[in-house]
């Protein structure tokens, strides 16, 4: 596989099953992510990307399957415990606390520093997202979509995670902001963070990711480096084009 060296993966998921009522959403999803990697989960709408991330985060309880993160079994753990284990989550709909200011939103995300993970302070985050620095006391509800997207990432980073789950970070953003977002992901990687993102936008994924999984109908159908995927027209036609 694509992991380099003999280190155990930072995050590994095996045989994940999930149901919504009687609908079988995930049927045996497995993936593994090495420390420092940027891995993208590609797939069409309704393929199971968001549910996979929510299962990892503990927001959806998997019916079956194992999830290991930094040698801890986190399957079925409460979201706050998963977060405190060092995994951050950025939902696709952002879920900013609209009644709280930027600073207060950051405060809500604050957790203790963690060994082996980059440590964030509001000032460091304002350096990463200069826009936010100018609106420290603005209410979350009075920010543009792009600003909210930056804030939701900054807020998750306040937990000093070793890995971050980004659910469709480029969705609904203007092209300029998407470019900023790509830059942000590269900077997070440079900080040593592991990034797992879900995407429909292959172009964006190409710019930021090392490796890709393709999910369809709740199953992983493809795994490979971005270069390999770029070369494989058939796979892209089968699973990604609308």
């Amino acid at each position: 596989m694509a992991e380099t060296g003999t280190d155990p993966p930072l995050l590994s998921v095996e045989g994940l099953h999930s149901y919504y009522g009687r609908a079988h959403i995930l049927s045996g999803v497995s993936l593994s992510v090495a420390r420092g990697e940027v891995v993208v989960l590609l797939g069409r709408n309704g393929a199971g990307k968001t549910t996979t991330l929510k299962c990892i985060m503990g927001l959806v309880r998997p019916a079956e399957g194992r999830i290991r993160f930094q040698d801890e079994d986190i399957a079925g753990a409460a979201p706050y415990a998963v977060c405190r284990a060092g995994l951050a989550y950025v939902p696709e709909d952002r879920r900013i606390f609209t009644e709280l200011t930027v600073m207060e939103n950051l405060e809500v995300g604050r957790q203790k520093p963690r060994a082996g993970a980059p440590e964030w302070t509001p000032d460091r985050l304002f350096a990463l997202f200069p826009n936010l620095a100018e609106m420290r006391n603005r209410l979350g509800g009075r920010m543009s979509g792009g600003e909210q997207q930056m804030l939701t990432i900054a807020r998750s980073l306040m937990g000093n995670p070793s890995a971050i789950l980004l659910d469709e970070p480029s969705e609904g953003l203007a092209p300029v902001i998407v470019e900023q977002m790509a830059q942000t992901v590269r900077e997070l990687k440079a900080e040593g963070l592991t990034v797992i993102l879900s995407e429909q936008n292959l172009h964006f994924a190409n710019h930021v990711s090392d490796r890709a999984y393709i999910i369809e109908k709740g199953q992983i159908r493809y795994e490979g480096t971005m270069a390999a995927l770029a070369a494989d027209e058939d796979v892209r036609a089968a699973y990604l084009t609308v």
Partner: protein, 614 residues
Amino acid sequence: MGFYFTQFLTGLASASSLFLVAAGLSIIFGVTRIVNLAHGSFYMLGAYIAYSIVTSIDVGPVGFWLAVLAAAVAVGLIGVAVEMLLLRRIYHAPEMFQLLATFGVVLVVQDAALAIWGPADKLGPRAPGLDGAVRIFGELVPQYDLAMIVLGPLVLGAIWLLFHKTRWGTLVRAATQDRQMLGALGANQKVLFTSVFFAGAALAGLGGAAQVPREAVSLFTDLNIIAEAFVIVVVGGMGSILGAFLAAVLISELNAFGILIFPQITLVLMFLVMAVILVVRPWGLLGRPEFIARGPGEMPEAPYRPADGRLKLLGLAALLLLVAVPLAGDDFLMVLMVDVLLLALFATSLHFIMGPGGMVSFGHAAYFGLGAYGAAMLTKLLDTPMELAVAGGIAAAAAGAVVFGWFCVRLSGVYFAMLTLAFAQIGWSVVFQWGDVTGGDDGILNVWPAAWASSRIVFYYLTLALCTGAILFMRHLLYAPFGYGLRAGRDSPLRAEAIGIDVRMRQWHGFILAGAMSGLAGSLYAFSKGSVFPDIMAIPQSIDGLMMVLLGGVKTLSGPYVGAAAFHLLEDQISRLEFWRAILGVTILFLVIVFPQGLVGFLRQRLSRDEAAP
């Protein structure tokens, strides 16, 4: 001039305690999404505990306030116990189950208070150091009132600081909006919920304790206070502490001056103001439009399936059993079964708007009561024959539902529930206070059925026929386009509107129909008992209806009858015991924790687990 100013000060002094209770209720609701019916009980406990302390120890001026604080902390700890032992198990249960559970707590606390403090009202001694009066504009104002006037804004300021200057407060405000996301950001909900419950309960306890020198505490304090606190929270805007303060002042001043002008209808006045404000500003004075608070994703409700052969057989067998009841020759059994049938109709009509309609009414007893009073008054005042009087009862209930429903269907969720409660309370207070016409507390006596129906057996069959007919009619409607539209409006109002259903109109019609059916049950009830009393439209009666529906299972169609029967038989058995409220309360708590899906829901789940699901 001086007189009006003192009256104004009295209003302000009363506002403080109400504000404390309402603020606690609002904070707890904001974070846990639980409408805590036991909040009035917390207030009552605070008052009783403070009373016990100040009457058993000789407290000085400082000691008095320490005693008040100690009572608040004690109540906070009781709140923590309730949260950890009970609510923690049911955060994921449907909203109405949580309500039921907190009502179980109300019952247990009522009997505990009865056992500890006895039935007599308790008025505490005057507060040491503040037992005099000062002259303002020539009128005497109790010093303690002035202290109370200071206490309200003081607590308001403290809450504001706590919410805006501490991490805990920031987390609480975040939880009010999106507790799932808060969890994903590393906050431990359990700790947060428990601490919020402590704070909310302690505020209620403080409110109660501080009232001890001003007002006697009685065993009725709990429900009186919870009704007022609902009004204040709704008028001020759910979740807004400042709004609660303004509303408490508004309502208290209204009471203080209303009592000078219309001493008889202060209650009505209060609820009328609430209705007007809610129509003009549906989210209250300082509230914001209700956002969907994110919790665990709730499963969409399964569609109703037409009764299969087995269920039809079961229904037929039950009906035959009911027809055979008089053969037993037991008069008492027949009386009991008439009650069960009427309650089954009452519960089914409530379920009609609650289940398929998605409108949870806290005040359905109003229509039962309107039916009963309509029929009884026609009989007593105009000597109307029974047949016409029953029709009149139905008409009275329907008319009430036309008016109240028009307001209520404009709101949804918790606001709908509270407005229905408010209207029911208006109905109750009119009946209770308008003694010349309704007999007030003494009720209306000697309302007997027509000669042809006066035998127990005939009346039983009449009741059986009418109730069965009405229940089958409502069931039929749910499988007709009317019912489909109602459910569509519940599941997705926007999409229902988009395919041409006027959701609000449909809900209004459903509300009126349910009111009329409840009125039928009520008017028959009047004739079966021969009398009516205000109790039948009071809050506990509405809650009983909710309990029946929830006992049976709100997601099932046959639930209401099973629930009504189970509830009434249970109540009949235990209401003969001394501490029957506590027993009922514990039973409710037990049922809620063990059968969160209701009795019928539980049976169905068992059945479908035993068989391979088709």
